[in-house]
């Protein structure tokens, strides 16, 4: 019951007027970020991170995580009203949300989307509250070999679960590791891969990479289509909201299933996007009116939105308890922890109780605040989208530049950001996934440190990664994840040859 007391203490922290104000600001900024093209959750949080350097860490993480929730909510608005997914995880929401809006039911679709998002997030937060302290307690016993095994599992899951070709995922991920290795080697203190360039002494900061890859890259992708004007209108009123809420409980099985899919995909670093697709696909197969999916079925909005939010929220579980972020945005938040002087990982639960539980409490409150904000302010946010891209685009580019500069007060970083931007555009067009690249830059040093320390302990024998039950199990899971697509293919071949 100690957790419960901690949680209530957390609520007390999160409910301070200053923190509530930051929460509302964060949610509003987050929705705007989610609505605008080129400003995603990860990129938006990265740009705003420097603003929080002077805040107390708990307040800072409350604001930044609320931006994240806001971005998750915001993606749904543009998908439903304009058929433009503001975020990749809301692509599946367009399948049924947009037809609903066209049939004159936008209010119903939006209410269903926001409420499902809230349900998914709430489910994930409850799971985090119950499970995170246990995982953290368990992880306290981890040595370097176990730590490396966890990283290994996380990165292998990317290869096995992402929809991109496995070798492209590997190539992108390893580029991240190589970029992370540039600069001072943390163990020997030796310089490496800098080729005499003094700007590279401290290596590549992943925040710069995030702003470039996700921000600039996204703008360039949007520019391909030109500065086309697009607009639309939306209203949502209390009557529609209440009516939709009366309908929703009938779909509780879909909701529950989507929550579970979301939590699973969020904890393993597959992330919100595949979770939303998977949940939509399964709902389509199992629903009574499955044939009607794609033509404006409310269940087709509930399933992906619930899963996306559950995944987006539960991505913070491994970040808090193990120091392994489950999504690019979680990775940026983890970077924030390091900047504020906190060491992410199991020790947080021991040493920074107020921080951890303040954050968890703010997840409950932030999502509730988010639901209220989006339900009441939809017309306002839809109006933002009517500001033409010709004005929005230069402003976002300037914001990206400011964000990149203020990380280290360096104009070199701003140039680097542009290079990453062009690279991100090319990688995305060629179907290379960006998330593993970013996560590898964030975790590269830690993974390498764990790897080398384990090898030091074993005098260079790789057997240390299979030396006890725990580490062997994690490594074996990792190997299964790594070869997952090959295993699946082999299994289906076996089945066809048997039949």
């Amino acid at each position: 019951m100690e957790e419960l007391a901690n949680l209530f203490h957390g609520f007390a922290v999160a409910l301070q007027p200053y923190n509530i104000m930051l929460m509302i600001i964060g949610i509003t900024l987050g929705v705007i970020i989610g609505v605008l093209p080129g400003l995603g959750g990860a990129n938006g949080v990265a740009i705003l991170l420097p603003l929080t350097f002077s805040m107390p860490p708990t307040s800072a993480i409350i604001m930044l995580s609320c931006i994240y929730w806001g971005a998750l909510f915001g993606g749904a608005i543009t998908s439903i009203l304009f058929n433009i997914p503001g975020e990749p995880w809301s692509v599946a929401t367009t399948f049924d949300g947009y037809p609903m809006a066209q049939q004159g039911r936008p209010g119903e679709a939006l209410t269903a989307a926001f409420t499902s998002s809230f349900v998914g997030a709430l489910f994930a937060v409850i799971m985090i509250t119950l499970v995170a302290p246990l995982v953290a307690g368990f992880a306290l016993r981890f040595g370097p070999a176990e730590k490396f095994a966890v990283y290994f599992l996380a990165f292998c899951s990317f290869v096995g679960l992402s929809k991109e070709p496995p070798f492209k995922t590997i190539a992108a991920m390893m580029m991240g590791f190589a970029l992370a290795a540039v600069g001072l080697d943390s163990i020997t203190g030796q310089l490496r891969l800098t080729f005499g360039v003094t700007e590279l002494l401290n290596g590549f900061d992943f925040l710069i990479a995030v702003i470039g890859l996700f921000g600039i890259g996204e703008i360039l992708l949007t520019m391909e289509e030109g500065l086309a004007f697009r607009g639309g209108n939306a209203t949502i009123n209390l009557r529609v909201v209440l009516q939709t809420w009366r309908e929703l409980p009938a779909y509780w099985i879909t909701s529950l299933r989507s929550c579970l899919i979301g939590c699973w995909m969020g904890v393993t670093p597959a992330g919100a996007t595949p979770a939303s697709f998977m949940s939509y696909g399964i709902a389509k197969r199992l629903a009574r009116r499955g044939n009607n999916f794609g033509k404006g079925e409310i269940e087709g909005v509930i399933a992906p939105e619930t899963a996306a939010h559950a995944a987006g929220t539960s991505a913070l579980l491994p970040m808090l308890s193990l120091g392994v972020p489950g999504s690019p945005t979680a990775a940026v938040l983890l970077g924030g922890l390091l900047i504020w002087g906190l060491q992410p990982g199991p020790m947080l639960f021991v040493e920074q109780k107020e921080f951890v539980w303040g954050l968890i409490a703010s997840m409950y409150l932030g999502n509730l605040a988010g639901l209220l904000v989006v339900l009441t302010c939809v017309p306002l946010f839809a109006a933002i989208l009517r500001v033409p891209f010709g004005i929005i685009a230069p402003l976002i580019l300037v914001l990206c530049a400011i964000g990149a500069y203020s990380v280290h007060n360096s104009t070199f970083d701003v140039m680097l950001m542009l290079v990453f931007g062009v690279l991100g555009y090319l990688l995305k067009k060629c179907n290379y996934p960006l998330a593993p690249l970013v996560l590898a830059i964030v975790l590269g040093d830690k993974a390498e440190e764990a790897f080398r320390q384990s090898l030091l302990g074993s005098q260079g024998s790789l057997g240390v990664f299979f030396s006890n039950g725990l580490v062997s199990t994690i490594m074996a899971l990792g190997l299964v994840a790594l070869f997952w697509s090959a295993i699946q293919e082999g299994y289906s071949r076996l089945r066809t040859s048997m039949a």
Binding site: Q190, R192, L227, T411, V422, R452, L455
Partner: protein, 161 residues
């Protein structure tokens, strides 16, 4: 040149695989210079990046092979689309490159004005309002409210900011 022509997807895929492969080779070269064997303190600095580089080269070779094999005749983008993209990349490069000399504020004003006037085709009044308003707002929020310094040039010095 018709509007539907442009570089094929295959060309770009091959180019990307080669580029990433080269990056892997650079990583291997740098690791070899740092030392990839065991030293007194255990694995030396280049140990880990060496294998990372080797994996990049291996994965890129497979990606290259696949890119050469699969040809669906798809375009990467039309020339028109690429021109649109370049019309953002080039000015952004100039914007970013000029920042160390003239500061962020002046560079941003010129950049926003250029973008809105020539790409967006807005009236001068709208253009100037946004181009001046945004940097001023930035100054107030970042430097005054959150105390985050941004790069300044001769113009700001003259204003005494």
């Amino acid at each position: 040149m018709t509007e539907r022509s442009g570089p094929t997807h295959k060309t770009l895929e091959i180019g990307m695989a080669l580029l990433i492969g080269m990056f892997g080779l650079v990583a291997i070269y740098g690791s070899l210079k740092a030392g990839i064997n065991w030293g007194a303190e255990g694995p030396r600095a280049g140990f880990f990046p060496f294998y990372v580089g080797a994996t990049i080269v291996g994965a890129s070779a497979i990606n290259l092979w696949r890119a050469r094999r699969d040809d669906d005749g798809r375009l990467f983008a039309t020339w028109g689309q690429l021109r649109q993209v370049m019309s953002v990349v080039v000015p952004t490069a100039i914007y970013v490159g000029s920042m160390p000399f003239i500061g962020l504020y002046v560079a941003s004003m010129v950049f926003i004005a250029w973008f809105m006037r020539w790409l967006g085709g807005y009236r001068w009044l709208t253009t100037i309002a946004v181009a001046v308003g945004m940097p001023v707002l930035t100054y107030l929020v970042f430097e005054r409210w959150f105390l985050v310094p941004l790069p300044k040039g001769p113009f700001e010095e003259w204003l005494g900011l």
